[in-house]
């Protein structure tokens, strides 16, 4: 029998390495390409911007990674995020505008705590429906999409929740280091007495958002990679029947997975409030969850379950993010990004089909 393409490539370690990490190589290729085509693409400022804007997509993709590894899907995360953002906004607005007694800091803290607790609920409900009542994940989480979206819209009456403390965006869009060329260096905020209007004169380094998302990623990576929780997640996706026989409490684990996913979406909602300074509901057509699934698949996971990693998913997100940014800076119409993501997805899955055993 002649060797198939797949066997040839698997036989060659270098080629196999490239096929396995195609997304990373694509990313590298894009970075090089756009450095030539886009003025200002290759700069610390631009990279920081891309990273900052990608935070929500990264959180969404990490949430979806856990779910997809169990061979499920969570269509509700985009709307859980909207629910979380709107609710946090509303609570802070009420406490803060009630004025006098409650300082912005405390209102924000209370808002965060309440919303993080609330954000466990959609995951709990879909998890129980999926694990205990065998409702297909697609339907259970689609139902939660409708429900959380409806509740979010009811809370904010269809308008963003505004008039929140200004400190939110100062933290959400703040940097750790501010350097004035030829002048001094200052940490955590602009030097005293310097107004926001002169912020452009400063070189800003390391957004707070990087620390925030970095810490979360570290925890999730550790959870998936080094703990029994992660081990069981892969086991369930690989062969649920076998996982049950091995004594894993599959039902409980699935509930935990959907709660985790929902919780991360809640975190994304809170970040959204810090980033924009208002509580935003999620519009139709934002498709956070679908882009998250795409990033996860581009990052090497399979919708059949059992495969995927946090690192891969983050690469997937950056591949989409830099593609979008690079096209924009190179003056290409932004709508090409939809086409590009479509094509990347097809590449991802075809590679996965051609080389099923590349892990």
């Amino acid at each position: 029998m002649t060797h198939t393409l797949s066997e040839t490539i698997q036989g060659n370690r270098k080629l196999a390495f490239i096929a396995r990490n195609w997304a990373a190589f694509f990313l590298l290729g894009f970075l090089i390409l756009f450095s030539f085509t886009g003025k200002g693409f290759l700069s610390v400022t631009n990279f920081q911007n891309v990273g900052h804007l990608a935070v929500i997509a990264i959180l969404m993709a990490s949430a979806e990674t856990f779910v997809i590894i169990t061979s499920g899907i969570d269509l509700s995360i985009g709307f859980v995020m909207g629910f979380s953002s709107v609710t946090a906004g509303k609570i802070i607005q009420i406490l803060y505008a009630a004025g006098g007694g409650i300082s912005p800091g405390i209102s924000i803290a209370i808002g965060i705590v309440i919303v993080l607790i609330l954000s466990l609920i959609p995951g709990l409900v879909s998890g129980v429906l999926i694990a205990r009542y065998k409702v297909p994940p697609f339907i259970a989480t689609m139902g939660m999409w409708g429900i959380t979206n409806g509740i979010a819209l009811k809370i904010c009456k269809g308008f963003p929740v505004a008039t929140l403390p200004e400190v939110l965006t100062r933290i959400g869009n703040g940097y750790i280091i501010y350097i004035k060329p030829g002048g001094g260096i200052s940490f955590f905020s602009l030097p005293h007495g310097v107004g926001n209007e002169s912020i452009r004169e400063y070189i800003r380094l390391i957004p707070y958002s990087f620390i925030f998302v970095g810490l979360i990623l570290l925890v999730l990576w550790h959870l998936l990679r080094n703990t029994t929780f992660g081990q069981h997640t892969y086991a369930i996706g690989g062969n649920e029947e076998a996982a049950v026989r091995a004594g894993i409490n599959v039902k409980l684990h699935l509930v935990k997975i959907y709660i985790l996913s929902s919780f991360i979406a809640g975190l994304a909602g809170i970040f959204n409030v810090f980033q924009t300074g208002i509580g935003n509901f999620t519009p139709f057509g934002a498709m956070y969850e679908l882009f998250a699934v795409s990033a996860v698949v581009i990052g090497g996971a399979s919708l059949m379950g059992g495969k995927g990693s946090i690192f891969g998913s983050v690469i997937g997100v950056f591949l989409i993010a830099f593609l979008e940014n690079g096209l924009l800076i190179s003056g290409v119409v932004p709508f090409y990004r939809f086409i590009a993501v479509g094509l990347l997805l097809i590449i991802a899955v075809v590679i996965d089909q051609l080389f099923p055993d590349l892990l």
Binding site: I73, L129, Y133, K134, V135, P136, F138, I139, A140, M142, G143, M144, W145, G146, I147, N149, G150, I151, L153, K154, K157, G158, F284, G285, L290, V293, S294, V297, L303, M304, V333, F335, Y336, R337, F338, I339, A340, V341, G342, L343, L345, I346, A348, V349, V350, Q353
Partner: protein
């Protein structure tokens, strides 16, 4: 109670349980008739169907796909894509000096032909390259969405008046004086009485839906659709060309979405990239409420229409009551999940053929 009557009673309960959606629809109608002033009227009733057309057609598109065990995320954006290219084509033909009707017909024909492409591509990806339907159709969503927005960068073009007249017109008119008339609205004095019956687009939609129901139920095409969803291996071993049939199914879905896009642009004059985007949830919900299973092998056209009607009546009813439609999302979400749970309680119907 003896065992026979007990058994009959169980059967009746089972039958009622299996038709819970119909019962729900009736309860819904009664509720809104009582609670919403002005709901119980011919006008509102026709509105339900008029605005329901999108979800009827997309629901049926999704139904065929879901019976095979797949899903089609792209239908919403194919609606937008078709709404844009059809208006483009018609405008182009009109520029070349063609008269309105032929330009319109040719434009529609070309749109329906091109509208098969996204389905062809996702079908091939799914059938030949074993790409999961979720991913294949999402990439088609991205591509049609992107292409639509590029086509519309310099603004949308208007459809000719004839098309809008048809899109918002009725099949049957009656007015005292001119009497009965088909399609053409008779001239009547301002404020005079006129009876308008059955919107044209509802007629078009139901002719198509009727044909599809027939195909699914009575033809080999329908039989293969169920077989693939029930047991792919069985279908293959029985000699059914499964990949070809799968491609056809996604092309059918794509075709129905394009038809919906053409109807959209006839209703609203201009095409729009995200014309059908917000209907995805409703279409899939309609199919599931209508008793289909996402694991494939189950579902019928009329039950899907029933599911779509439940949603359409909910939306219209809330609107007539003056409640913001935010509640709709919550209620649809709850019905969607309940549908799956209720269907689990009532197993397949069984028959007894008494033989002497």
């Amino acid at each position: 109670m003896n065992t026979i009557t007990k058994r009959k009673l169980t059967n009746v309960i089972m039958d009622l349980g299996r038709s819970w959606a119909l019962i729900f629809l009736i309860v819904e109608l009664v509720f809104f008739s009582l609670a919403a002033k002005g709901f119980l009227s011919l006008r509102v009733f026709q509105m339900v169907f008029f605005f329901g057309v999108t979800v009827f057609l997309l629901g049926v598109a999704e139904l065929f796909v879901i019976i095979t065990g797949g899903i089609d995320l792209s239908v919403g954006y194919i609606v937008g894509f078709a709404s844009i290219i059809s208006s483009r084509f018609v405008a182009l033909f009109l520029q070349t000096g063609m008269s309105t009707l032929p330009a319109l017909l040719l434009g529609i024909f070309l749109t329906l032909a091109i509208g098969l492409l996204p389905g062809l591509v996702s079908g091939l990806l799914i059938a030949k390259l074993r790409v999961p339907p979720f991913i294949a159709t999402f990439s088609m969503l991205g591509i049609t969405h992107g292409v639509s927005e590029l086509l519309i960068l310099n603004g949308a073009v208007n459809m000719p008046k004839l098309s809008t007249l048809f899109g918002n017109g009725y099949f049957l008119y009656w007015a005292p004086g001119p009497g009965l008339s088909l399609f053409v609205r008779p001239e009547i004095p301002r404020g005079g009485f006129i009876l308008e019956l059955i919107p044209n687009i509802v007629v078009v939609a139901f002719v198509v839906i009727g044909i599809l129901s027939f195909m699914l139920k009575r033809t080999v095409f329908g039989q293969y659709t169920y077989a693939i969803g029930g047991n792919v291996d069985a279908a293959i071993r029985s000699g059914i060309n499964v990949s070809r049939h799968t491609v056809k199914i996604y092309m059918l879905s794509s075709f129905l979405a394009s038809l919906t896009g053409i109807i959209y642009v006839m209703m609203y004059v201009k095409g729009k990239g995200d014309a059908g985007a917000s209907n995805l949830l409703d279409s899939i919900a309609a199919v599931v409420i209508g008793g289909a299973s996402l694991y494939g092998g189950k579902g019928t056209v009329w039950r899907t229409i029933l599911g779509a009607l439940i949603i359409a009546i909910l939306e219209t009813g809330l609107r007539v009551m003056g409640i913001p439609t935010f509640d709709k999302y919550i209620i649809v979400g709850i019905i969607l999940i309940s549908a799956v749970l209720i269907d689990k309680i009532f197993p397949d119907k069984t028959y007894m053929d008494t033989k002497e």
